[in-house]
Each structure stands twice: as C-alpha cells, then as structure tokens.
C-alpha cells in the first residue's frame, strides 16, 4: 500500500475537520480526494504530508509509520494550489532546491533539473523567474520541483484550482499522462468531480469530515453509496422517492406505453450536449434530460411542446446501494 490512513481525527477548536477517517491508497495509483469545501479533504492531505498533526490515528507511507515524522523525512512531494514558487529564485533554482538541500553535486543537479524541465515542458525557461511564467507554467514548475527529490508519494492540493478553465482541462490531461510515465503514488485533492473522474483511477469521496465512498469513477457514478455521492458525482434529477441521471431520461411519444406526458419548458444548448428542461404533467415535477445535439435534431423539440418521458431507468432511494452507504 502506498499510503494508509487509520482512524485519523482532527479538530480545529470547535470545528471538526476529520472524524475517524481511514483510507488506503494503492502503490502507484492516482487517487483523488473529492469533496465540497470544508469536507476535510485538504486537511487529510496535509496530515499525510506532515503539515498538520492528527489528534488521533496514524499515517503509514509505504508501510512505514510516518505519524510523528516531520514533513522533510516523509519522502513526499507536495504541490500547492497557489504554486508556492520561490519567487526570488529562477525556475532552475526552484526545481533544484530539494537536490541542493541534499547536497547533490552541482553537475548532477543540473542534469536532473534539465531532465525534469523537459518532462514538464519548460525547457528553455530555466533562467526565468516565476513571475515571468503563466499560472500553468508555474504549476508545472512546482510539479517538477516536487518530483526532483524522487518522492515516494506525490500530493497535489487543488493543483489546478487557480487556473482558468481551458488551461485546467489541458493540465488534467497532461497530468494523467505524466502519471503513466512516472508512476509515483499520487493523491489529488479536488472539489471538481469532473476533474476527479477524468484524472484519477480511484476516488475517495469526502463529506462533513468523513469518507462517503471509495471506488473507481464508474462505480461511484453507477452505484453511489449515499444520497450525497449520488448528487455530488455526476448530475442527477431528484424525483419523489427516486433519482435518475439526466442522460437516462428518454424522450418518447406520450402515447407510447410507459411514457408520461410532460412539457418542454426550455432548451439549453451547451454545444456538446443540450439540456431539455421538462415539467411532468401529472404532478408538475421539474426535471431535465441530457441529449446529444444530433438526438435533439432528430426529435425536433421546441419550448412549449408536449412530449412523453420514459423514466424506467430511475432508481429508488433506499436501493441496496444507497443503504450500504448510509448505514455507516
């Protein structure tokens, strides 16, 4: 196991940040800690890094008890949301910092830094200062700096949170492929479920200082263990006593058996998908369906139109999967 966290609790005054949290991060995996702000995910990451001390419980890194080790002895790499670049040092000196602290020979530092700058595609920018880099470049520099000392585990605290949407998406993609190359056990903290699902192979969903569910992205989406995970991972329509994903809502002919009458209220074209906002005739229940653009064209929907909706794929709240999570 890359990282094992056992029964960790942490309070800040009257505020409980973590309540008896246990997780395991497999060796070489890319695991996301996903949750809304205040769920305790960042605190958990900082406890693994040694930046916070847990009130109880223990942390094992590659089988070694690290609970009482200072950060510099844990063999972790850490990337901060706001880069934490050493502003007075060039990119080269930033990346080589950990090696210089370890008194590595100058030539070796140079070679290694050049290698890493190649890996994060900052070759040619070695003599720049962080202020002369874009946000994305700074974060890649921070990543190279963290990787330079060959950490056992890499911890990323909302690494793309301060970047704009397009750069964020590119970096996600890039991080995933970087991980395929480097294979270091990585934990990524994020509040963005799309980011977690896109980048990681395992997701730990956290809420209110507790772990809600752990699983592969598809597991969480298909078999959410709690009401919270259902709503947080992927879009959802909540119906009385049941829920259905927007892409599971089928638009049909109202006369067809199994179809209920509904009215199209609004169409929202988002490019790759269209949201059809609907209102069920029977009880005025509002919900929306997700359609691909060509599907929309085929159906030729317009606001005010009377259609049928097929909710056969709706799942009841209280299904087995849901009970498993809420019993904890």
């Amino acid at each position: 196991m890359g990282i094992v966290v056992r029964n960790v609790g942490k309070r800040f005054g009257a505020y409980t940040a973590l309540e008896d949290v246990s997780i395991e991060v497999p060796d070489g995996s890319l695991t996301a800690l996903l949750g809304p702000s205040g769920s305790g995910k960042s605190t958990l990451l900082r406890i693994v890094a040694g930046l916070e001390t847990p009130d109880r419980g223990s942390v094992l890194i590659e089988g070694r008890d690290a609970t009482n080790l200072p950060p510099q002895e844990r063999g972790v790499g850490f990337v901060f949301q706001h880069y934490a670049a050493f502003k007075h040092m060039t990119v080269r000196d930033n990346v080589g910092f950990g090696l210089r602290i370890r008194k590595a020979p100058k030539a070796q530092v140079r070679t290694r830094v050049d290698e890493l700058l190649g890996l994060v595609q900052l070759d040619g920018l070695a003599e720049r200062y962080p202020s002369q880099l874009s946000g994305g470049q700074r974060q890649r520099m921070a990543l190279a700096r963290a990787l330079a000392v060959e950490p056992r585990v890499l911890l990323l605290d909302e690494p793309f949170g301060a970047l704009d949407a397009r750069v964020r998406e590119e970096l996600r993609d890039w991080l995933r492929r970087l991980h395929e190359q480097v294979h270091v056990t990585t934990v990524l903290v994020t509040h963005d479920q799309e980011e977690a699902m896109e980048v990681s192979s395992r997701i730990v969903v956290m809420n209110h200082a507790r772990v809600e569910q752990v699983g592969a992205p598809a597991d969480l989406y298909e078999r959410p263990a709690s009401d919270f995970v259902m709503g947080f991972v992927g879009k959802v329509n909540r119906l009385p006593g049941a829920y259905i994903r927007p892409h599971e809502v089928r638009i049909c002919d109202p006369r067809e058996p199994g179809c209920e009458a509904a009215e199209v209220e609004r169409l929202l074209a988002l490019g790759f998908e269209t949201r059809v906002e609907l209102r069920r005739r029977r009880d005025g229940q509002r919900l929306w369906a997700q359609l691909a653009p060509d599907e929309l064209a085929r159906l030729g929907l317009e606001p005010g139109q009377e259609v049928g909706i097929d909710l056969a794929r709706a799942r009841r709240i209280g299904d087995e999967a849901l009970l498993a999570g809420t019993a904890a």
């Binding site: 510099q72 880069y83 934490a84 050493f86 963290a146 000392v149 750069v167 970087l178």
Partner: protein
C-alpha cells in the same frame, strides 16, 4: 522515474500575463496632482536642505573644513557611528525575530508583544530619556548605584545613549517586516520544509530573501532614526562636548555657541549620511522581477 524523456504536448492557451497599465485620469488632473505633490516636497524638504547647504558654504570652504576637523566634531561623528553600529544590527536581528514571532506563532499575550513593538513610535523620546534616568541614574536610580559600584556608568555616558537609541529605533524593522511576512504566507516555507530544508535553511534560503525588501526599508528607517535621534539621547547624555555628544547634539551645541557655520556643516553631514544610506539600500533592492503571485 528514470526515463524522463517526454513527448507530451505543451498545453497551449496558457501564456504569461503582460504588464498592467495604470488607470489614467484626465491629463489636467494628473498634471495638477503632480504639481501639488512636487510643490509640497520642494517647500518642505528640498528648500530647507538647499538653503542650509548654501548657508554652510556662504563664507567659503575654509571655515567648513575647520568646523569638520575639530576634536568635538570628530568625536561626535565617531559616537554617532557607534550608535548606528549598535542599534541597527541589534534592532534588525530582533526586529525580524519579533516579526516572525508575531506573524508565525500563536500564543497568549501576542497582542501585547505587538503593542510593545509599536510603543516606541508613540512615546515621546523625552519620556524615554527620563525613564532611562529613573532606571540607571547613579544618584538613586533603580540599578544605577549598583552599576556604579561595578564601575559601569550608564547615564551621562555612551551606554545610556546607546540604550536610548536602541529603544527609539526599535519598531522600524519589525513594523516593515510584519506586513510582508503576512503577505507572503506560509506556502513557500512549507514547500521548503517538505523538500527537506531544516527550519534554519528555510529561514535563510526562503523566508529572508522573500522579506528582504521589508528588512532593507526597516534598516533605512532604523539608521535614519539612530542618526537623527535627539530628545532621548539629549536627556541621558548630559551633552558633554567631546565626550557624550552625537552629531545632532553637536549641531545644537554649536548653534547655541554662536558658531552657525559648524552647526550648518554638521547638519549637512547628517543629511548626506541619510542620503548615503538610502542609496546603499536602493542598491541592495532586488532587480525588477515583477511581483505577481
């Protein structure tokens, strides 16, 4: 993590931000503002300094040279250097230490430390001088008689003057560094620790370079204050010419002694020293590498 040869594509659409343009008002408003600011400075700062310099050399260079070579002047100069040489390093080291304590540590009574750091700015130097006399006067001060038995004179002697100077120039480094420390936050320091740096290495390699502009300005202000201190030093020194006179006291003593040229010349020396300190500190400031986060 060995084969670090990569062919991953560079994320596009992520370019460094350019320089921001200042918000501009109308041309008339800008010129007006500039004129007011410059006139104010000219009237209150430049004018007196220029006039003083002119007055110094009104009777030629010879009386100036004479005034600046008297034993009383050279001793005052030496004593002033001594004040600066003790007060500035002491207050720089303790100022940075106090700033770190106030910003990076949580403890009871932190507010009190913060307040004490500001107190010397608010208390009149005369009060500081009197307080030192109450403590150290050889005639009935709290510690004075005992110190005199040990052969140590504090009042009417350089030690008391140094104490007074250190006291009045104490807040500047800390006050300059505290906001800078708050501004830079703890991310950089934490990053350094995780990368393996000890607390001491983190301070020297990361914290100190990040706050050095604040420290530099603090040192300038401390030096200026130590050079120019008059009130507190005047009270504890006894103003003995050639023995306990700093340059500021020498200016007053010469002025009252109907020797205006010596008073002017000494004043010009003081002003030049202040300018020199400013220039030196400008030199130490980092080259323009931007400040965006």
């Amino acid at each position: 993590m060995s084969a670090l040869t990569s062919t991953l594509p560079v994320p596009a659409g992520d370019v460094p931000v350019g320089k921001k343009r200042p918000i501009e008002g109308s041309r008339g408003a800008r010129l007006g503002l500039r004129a007011v600011a410059l006139a104010y400075l000219a009237l209150l700062v430049l004018g007196p300094v220029v006039l003083m310099t002119l007055s110094t050399f009104a009777e030629g260079i010879a009386p100036v040279v004479e005034a600046l070579t008297t034993p009383a002047f050279t001793h005052a100069l030496w004593l002033t250097f001594l004040m600066v040489a003790v007060a500035v390093p002491l207050n720089t080291v303790f100022g940075v230490a106090c700033a770190l304590v106030v910003v990076r540590h949580e403890f009871r009574g932190k507010g009190l430390v913060d307040a004490l750091l500001t107190l010397p700015l608010g208390v009149s130097p005369v009060v500081v001088g009197l307080a030192l006399i109450i403590l150290y006067s050889p005639l009935g001060g709290w510690f004075g008689p005992w110190l005199r038995e040990q052969g140590i004179m504090v009042i009417f002697a350089p030690p008391g003057m140094i104490l007074a100077t250190v006291f009045v120039s104490l807040p500047f480094v800390a006050r300059e560094v505290i906001p800078v420390l708050r501004e830079i936050g703890t991310d950089q320091e934490q990053a350094a620790r995780i990368l393996g740096a000890s607390g001491w290495q983190t301070f020297w390699l990361v914290t100190l370079p990040a706050i050095r502009v604040g420290v530099a300005y603090g040192v300038v202000l401390t030096t200026a204050r130590a050079l120019g201190e008059y009130g507190a030093v005047a009270i504890v020194s006894g103003k003995l010419a050639g023995r306990t006179e700093t340059l500021t006291l020498h200016v007053e003593e010469r002025w009252l002694g109907f020797d205006p040229v010596a008073a002017y010349a000494t004043s010009v020396v003081l002003a030049l020293m202040a300018v020199l300190v400013l220039v030196l500190m400008r030199r130490l400031e980092p080259k323009e590498i931007g400040d965006s986060g």
